[in-house]
Symmetry: C2
Subunit: 329 residues, 2 copies
C-alpha cells in the first residue's frame, strides 16, 4: 500500500481507556454496515472482558494457546470450534435468535459438530443404521405447517450415533456413511425409517474443549437423541433433535440442547404396525409430528424480535438485509 | 462418568433470556475462583454479543470458519491468533493492564508474533543482522531503574526484520536465527550492538487476518521499529519497541503499538564514536535510555489500578494471586 494513501486519523499513545474508540474508528471505514456493527460490538466486548477481568499477559497467552489448539485439532471430520460454541451455550443461543418459533411449531436445538453432507437419499422405510448391536427402533413421523396441513417433499436429514455412542465419522476405519440418511416426506407429510434406539454419549473430550470441561468440573455427556434437519423452500430451516424421556443426562446436557417439547417416550410396535412396516412386534417405536414455520412467518418474527431487543437495549437501529445495524442519518 | 454423580440443577428449555445464567451455574462448580470469574465474564460477553447483534446462523458459521482457519494456519513459526489479537487492539490493552508504568519509566508495547527463543547470547558490540542490503545502524543504549541507577546483568532480547521487512522465521530456507540476539547490560547499565535501520513492513496478510483487514479497508503495515524485551529478577518484565520518527505509518500502525515516548530520531555516528565502536563515521545511530520498573512498584500499581477499575465498575472484588475475583463470603 502506498503510504500516501493513509488517510485515517492519527493513532498513537493508545491506552486502556482510549484503545477501544480508536479501534472502532479505524474499523469503521468498511462500507458494509453490518460488518461494521458486528466488529464494533465484538471489539467492545473483547476489550471490556479484558478490562473487567484485568486480564494478565499469562492468561492472555493461555487463551491464545487454547484457541490455537482448538483450531489445530479441527479436521474434515472434527469441528472443535462448534464444540466450544456448544459447551458455552452460544450455539443454542444463536439458533434461538435466528429461528424464532411461534407457538405450536417444533422447537429447534443445537446442530452439533457431526452433521455431514455424505448421507445418501433413502426411500421411506429404509434401515439407516447397520450396527448389529443397536436396539432396533421404528421411527414414524409427519411434517406439517402451523395450520396443520401436511408438507410433502421436505428434505429431511437424519443422523444418530451407533450403539456405542459414536458417529460414523468418529471411526477411522469406516468405509462410508452409516447412522445417517436423507429422506423426503410423502404427500401426507409422512416419513419413516428403521434406526436404532439412541444412547447417551460423551462429546469428543480428548481435545482442548474436553480439557476445559474437566477444569470446570463438567461432564461431557449428551442425553440420548436423534438429530433431524428439515429443508424445503418457503419454510424456515429447522435444525432439531428428539430426546428420550428418563435419560440419565436429560437435565444436564453438556451442550444445553434439551427442550421439554422435544422429549419423546418410546413406544412399542404393535401387531398391526409390525405387519404394516415389516418390523418385529414388540420392538421400540418412536413417533413425532414436526411442525415447520413458513419463511414469511419466521422472517416477520425474527425481525420483530430483533427490533424489540434493540429497543430494550436503547439502541436506535434499522434492519439491513433483515439484521440490525445502527440507524445513523 | 456415572450418571448418578450428576448433581447439577436441571438444565432444560433454555432460551435467549435464560441461557446465560444457566451456563454460569454449571460453570460455577470449578474450585478456582479466578477461572470462574473469567468464564463468567467471557460467557456473558459472548452471549451479549450474540444478543446485541442478533447474530445469524450464517454469521455464526462464518465466525466458526474464520477462527478455524486462524488456528489452522498457525505453526511453529506463525501465530495468527496473536496477530488477530494485535489487530483488534487486545494485545496493546492487555500489556497496558498487566504492565502499568509509573511516570519516567519506559512504556511497553505489543510483543507481536515474531519473538522466538532461538536468539543467541551475543557479547556487547555484536553485529546482529547479517543482511548485506540493510543500512548499518549503531545502537547505543542504557537501562536504569526509576531512580536513575544503572541496572547491570539485565537480559535483553532484541529482534528486527531484514531490509525487506521479513523476520528470519519468515524465510523458509533460513539456516539459523538472524536479526535477533540476546545481550546483557554491563555494570554501567550499558548495552550496544550493530544492527540495520528498521524498515516498515506489512504483518503477514496472506491468511485469515489479512482477509479481515482487507474487508475492513485497513492496511497491514507496521511503521519501522526494533523490538526489545527486558528481563531481570526483581524488575517488571518489559516488552517494548523503538519506532522511527517520520515513518509513513507512524500514526496508522496496524497493531496500535506506537507511543510518542518510544519514537526515536536517528542520529549520525561522529568521528569519536566511529573509532570507539568500530563503525564508519556518518553511519546511522540509534540511542535510547530504558527505564525499568521494580516488581514491587509494578505489583503495587497493578493491584491499585485493578481495585480502582473494579470500584468504578461497581463490583465488590478482592485480589486472588494479585488478580480480581468476586468478594463473596
Amino acid at each position: 500500500m502506498d503510504p500516501s494513501l493513509v488517510d485515517i486519523p492519527p493513532l498513537k499513545d493508545l491506552t486502556i481507556d482510549n484503545i477501544t474508540e480508536n479501534v472502532h474508528m479505524i474499523n469503521s471505514r468498511t462500507p458494509d454496515p453490518r460488518l461494521k456493527y458486528i466488529l464494533e460490538r465484538l471489539v467492545t466486548h473483547v476489550h471490556d472482558f479484558a478490562r473487567e477481568t484485568r486480564l494478565s499477559t499469562n492468561e492472555w497467552m493461555a487463551g491464545i494457546n487454547f484457541l490455537t489448539s482448538v483450531g489445530q485439532i479441527c479436521s474434515d471430520v472434527r469441528q472443535e470450534f462448534i464444540l466450544l460454541s456448544d459447551i458455552i451455550g452460544l450455539s443454542l443461543l444463536v439458533d434461538s435468535i435466528d429461528h424464532p418459533k411461534p407457538p405450536a411449531s417444533t422447537e429447534g436445538t443445537v446442530l452439533g459438530p457431526f452433521h455431514t453432507h455424505e448421507a445418501q437419499h433413502e426411500p421411506a422405510g429404509s434401515l439407516i443404521s447397520h450396527d448389529p448391536d443397536g436396539e432396533p427402533c421404528l421411527v414414524l413421523c409427519t411434517v406439517k405447517d402451523t395450520s396443520g396441513k401436511p408438507i410433502s417433499g421436505v428434505k429431511i436429514d437424519i443422523w444418530e450415533t451407533d450403539s456405542k455412542g459414536f458417529y460414523d465419522v468418529q471411526h477411522a476405519d469406516r468405509d462410508g456413511p452409516d447412522g445417517r440418511a436423507v429422506m423426503k416426506s410423502d404427500d401426507d407429510g409422512v416419513f419413516w425409517f428403521k434406526a436404532i434406539v439412541p444412547v447417551p454419549y460423551p462429546i469428543p473430550h480428548d481435545g482442548p474443549v474436553g480439557k476445559l470441561l474437566k477444569l470446570l468440573k463438567r461432564h461431557p455427556y449428551r442425553p440420548s437423541h436423534m438429530h433431524f434437519m428439515f429443508d424445503k423452500q418457503g419454510y424456515d430451516h429447522l435444525i432439531t433433535a428428539l430426546y428420550l424421556r428418563h435419560d440419565p443426562y436429560e437435565t444436564s446436557d453438556a451442550v444445553f440442547g434439551v427442550k421439554e417439547s422435544l422429549i419423546v417416550e418410546l413406544g412399542t410396535v404393535n401387531a398391526e404396525q409390525a405387519t404394516q412396516y415389516g418390523v418385529k412386534e414388540g420392538s421400540k417405536l418412536m413417533t413425532y409430528d414436526f411442525v415447520l414455520v413458513s419463511d414469511t412467518e419466521a422472517t416477520k418474527l425474527r425481525e420483530e424480535n430483533a427490533m424489540k431487543a434493540m429497543e430494550a437495549l436503547g439502541r436506535r437501529m434499522k434492519l439491513y438485509n433483515g439484521l440490525p445495524v445502527p440507524d445513523v442519518d
